[in-house]
């Protein structure tokens, strides 16, 4: 280390120092809001709004969490979200990988045509109403399939995974394996998948985050409250904060809504983002590797 420092020129050293300072600042900028939410979730809402909460909780209270943990809809939402995220990720990753592998192979006939078809969907989408009608006519309205199936296999992901396969699975490997009598399927399961853990991890993360944070599809397609994912439940609680014209008739229940909202807002953010915060470090080590290789143009 000393050796290294000595060899550096004065300019390099300054560069490093400034770099570290800047990065630390950026890190604080990113971390502080998270920390604030944590602290605020234990504080009296009035203290938060009067700006008295800064580094430590003020008016320490568990009320918010008590309310959250006693609200059944939040737990139903939690269970639903876990179900949708698991199922959707399984389907999504499977479809992506199954689509990407053949496209990565040189011996697939009509490869460019298939690729075209896929690419077109990146530029043009059906729009909200046609998509809604399609889902309706497929009888997927108000079922979880409307959330997990239509979005499975995004073209962008397919391209990333395909590129990863192309660059990290040499053709020679398939030649060697096939000479030894390996079938296509066997090759895929025994060679390709084990060699692609990093990109699989990336895909899993993409999908899980997507499903965990998604609420719009649920908002559009689901009617039954018992099927709502967590984010939609939370959103319903949180967006009530807006003052709208409906209030003209009923100021009192507006204030009641708001009181509840204020009480549980921060706790709810903690509760909902915790799973991802926990998941992320485990997948992060694959992340750079997977995405970097996958994104190189092939």
């Amino acid at each position: 280390m000393n050796q290294l420092l000595k060899r550096k020129s004065r300019g390099d050293m300054w560069f490093d120092i400034i770099n570290y300072i800047l990065l630390t600042l950026i890190m604080l900028l990113v971390l502080y809001p998270l920390y604030f939410v944590l602290v605020a979730s234990f504080s009296d809402p009035n203290n938060i709004y009067s700006g008295e909460v800064w580094l430590f909780p003020k008016g320490f209270t568990f009320d918010g969490y008590e309310r959250i943990f006693s609200d059944s809809s939040i737990w139903i939402g939690y269970a639903n979200s876990i179900l949708y995220a698991t199922l959707g990720t399984l389907i999504g990753v499977a479809v992506t990988v199954f689509a990407a592998y053949p496209l990565a192979r040189k011996d697939l006939a009509g490869k460019s045509i298939i690729m075209w078809f896929l690419l077109v969907t990146m530029f043009f989408s059906g729009g909200l109403i046609p998509t809604y009608l399609l889902i309706k006519d497929l009888h997927m309205l108000n079922t979880m399939w409307a959330l997990v199936i239509p979005g499975a296999g995004g073209v962008f992901n397919v391209i990333i995974v395909r590129t990863f396969f192309q660059s990290s699975i040499p053709d020679e490997m398939w030649e060697a394996a096939s000479i030894d009598g390996c079938s296509n399927t066997r090759f895929f399961w025994s060679f390709v998948l084990p060699l692609s853990k990093s990109i699989l991890a990336v895909m899993v993360l993409y999908h899980v985050v997507g499903f965990w944070n998604g609420f719009f599809d649920a908002l559009i397609y689901l009617n039954d409250e018992s099927k709502y994912p967590l984010q939609l439940v939370l959103r319903n609680i949180l967006v009530q904060n807006q003052v709208n014209s409906g209030m003209m008739i009923d100021v009192e229940s507006y204030a009641a809504k708001m009181r509840v909202t204020e009480l549980i807002k921060y706790g709810v953010i903690m509760v909902s983002s915790l799973p991802l915060l926990i998941l992320y470090p485990f997948l992060q080590k694959y992340f750079v590797k997977g995405v970097m290789i996958g994104s190189i143009k092939g």
Partner: protein
């Protein structure tokens, strides 16, 4: 690249065919109820012998249970034998989902607590998406018909300009919103400083100044906020104070005097008020600068700081801002007498019945059953229960048969409880002014508010307001085109004039900009609408 787009075109075309084909098949497939008229009873209950199911879409508050689990609807189902297949949408997302359903033609039998705007009523009525209801009302809705016969004003206000009734009314005629701006001052501070409750604007200004400089909360810090409000927000704005200059303001800047519509924000009184607020209040630091930016949560928190810091504010109810403990420190202020001796307070515009609270769509194959079902809710006792909550849960009947409030379950507020047991104020049903006191008691807090209005504000209140007028579609188009931008501009300028001053220098260019934005045309539309409305009333 060129060839890619060619290919894309073909794909799109194919897709378009596929989609249109699908939707063609899909329409008409959702008549689960079928035609069961044979069972239908013209009068009496149940409405049908064998249960019929209707599909209804309705918004609900996020904390409320699904309507199918609400006691009030269970009772209705038992009485009528009409089962409702509820699709509840969180009220915050309702508008979006409603538009999607209407645009995609995925229609339920009816929208309940529908919140249809005038524009939607007319346009969807014209293209047949929702059906005219007046004949159905005549034949199948005795309760509603009786109400409309008794109250022609309600009938005229729900009738569209083309003569049809597309949406049913929703109305709690309690007149509590006539003056939403309850102006509050800290009485205990006044006492401490040896001041009396202000009667004039100048006394009020003195009091605010004393709040700021003389440390009435006694903590040695200058942390008092003499006056806080929320700029141009319902029930939290200082629009009421403009009345001290002779012309009260409201959120639309539109008042009526002797049948003439006046746009307040171009009048000399308005300018004088702005000058006063800037010179006497803002410049001297009496107005909380956050008044122009804060949201309701921040605002409410200001009343609940550890040391009492709020001197004066505007809100619907004192307790909500400062909490029940401190509420006794504060008192309401009657309209203040202005520098020229004016003392008046505005009357909020609109306030008539909501007219889009229930619509029946063309997909409904049982409109008679639907109308009879919803008519149950126009019976005054039922209307009250639909709006506030059912018997034995929220109300009990007293010896005169009037609905009186039961005590609330421990630890819940009235507003929160109400959401859980009833669809609430957007639902169909009319509780007229006469019904209060005879059929149903007002909630305790509403009674208090009625008393306060009577005592502090009604004597000074403007006589007229701009009623809730059903405009022609072309008029609505024009209003929608001009008004939002214009009001936004006026409000921004109002904030600037109060904060930065400069009315004298900028007034002319301000007026010119408003002219360019179509103020004159807008006011003409409003005047025409009002004239038509008044003519109709005399008929």
């Amino acid at each position: 690249m060129k060839s890619l787009f060619k290919g894309a075109g073909i794909v799109m075309l194919a897709g378009a065919f596929a989609v249109s084909g699908c939707s063609g098949n899909g329409n008409g497939a959702n008549n689960q109820s079928g035609n069961q008229k044979a069972d239908f009873n013209q009068t009496g209950l149940p409405i049908v012998k064998d249960a019929v199911t209707l599909r209804m879409v309705s918004p609900k508050a996020a904390l409320a249970p699904e309507f199918s689990e609400m006691e009030i609807f269970k009772r209705l189902e038992k009485d009528t034998n009409v089962k409702i297949n509820w699709e509840n949408i969180p009220d915050t997302d309702y508008a979006e989902k409603k538009n999607l359903l209407l645009a995609s033609g995925d229609l339920p039998d009816a929208f309940y607590a529908a919140g249809f705007t005038d524009y939607e009523l007319i346009n969807y009525g014209k293209d047949g998406t929702i059906i005219p209801l007046e004949d159905l009302i005549d034949q199948y809705a005795p309760n509603l018909k009786a109400l409309l016969d008794r109250r022609p004003d309600i009938k005229s206000s729900i009738t569209a300009p083309d003569g049809h009734i597309y949406g049913l009314p929703s109305f709690e005629e309690n007149n509590l919103g006539t003056n939403p701006f309850f102006h509050v001052i800290n009485k205990s501070w006044l006492d401490k400083l040896g001041l009396k409750v202000p009667q004039t604007l100048d006394e009020y200004t003195e009091a605010l100044l004393a709040f700021k400089t003389q440390d009435p909360n006694g903590n040695g810090k200058q942390d008092e906020i003499p006056l806080s409000f929320m700029h141009m927000q319902w029930c939290m704005d200082i629009a009421g104070l403009f009345g001290a200059f002779g012309l009260p303001d409201n959120l639309e800047h539109r008042v009526v005097r002797d049948g003439k519509v006046i746009f307040t924000a171009t009048q000399p009184e308005y300018k004088e008020a702005l000058n006063y607020f800037h010179e006497k209040w803002y410049k001297t630091g009496l107005i909380d600068p956050e008044s122009f930016t804060q949201d309701a949560a921040q605002y409410l928190a200001k009343g609940k700081t550890t040391d009492e810091t709020l001197g004066s504010f505007v809100w619907w109810e004192i307790e909500e801002v400062v909490g029940t403990e401190r509420a006794k420190d504060y008192v309401l202020l009657s309209p203040l007498k202005g520098p020229n001796g004016d003392q008046t307070i505005g009357r909020a515009n609109g306030g008539g019945p909501g007219r889009g609270s229930f619509v029946i769509t063309k997909e409904n194959s049982n409109p008679e059953i639907t109308m009879r079902w919803v008519d149950q809710q126009f019976e005054p006792y039922m209307a009250a229960q639909i709006h506030w909550g059912p018997l034995d849960i929220v109300y009990k009947k007293d010896e005169n048969g009037k609905l009186v409030n039961l005590p609330l379950p421990e630890g819940t507020s009235a507003g929160e409880f109400r959401q859980k047991v009833a669809p609430g104020s957007g639902a169909p049903g009319v509780i007229t002014f006469d019904d209060f006191g005879k059929v149903v008691d007002m909630e305790p807090r509403a009674q208090q508010r009625a008393k306060d209005l009577e005592q502090y504000y009604n004597p000074y209140m403007e006589k007229e307001n701009y009623p809730n007028i059903f405009f022609e579609p072309e008029e609505l188009d024009k209003i929608n085109k001009i008004e939002p931008e214009l009001i936004k501009y006026v409000n921004t300028q109002r904030g600037r004039f109060i904060v930065d001053g400069g009315t004298d220098a900028e007034w002319d260019s301000y007026l010119k900009t408003l002219d360019k934005m179509g103020l004159k045309e807008l006011m003409e539309i409003y005047q025409t609408g009002l004239d038509r409305y008044n003519a109709n009333l005399k008929k």
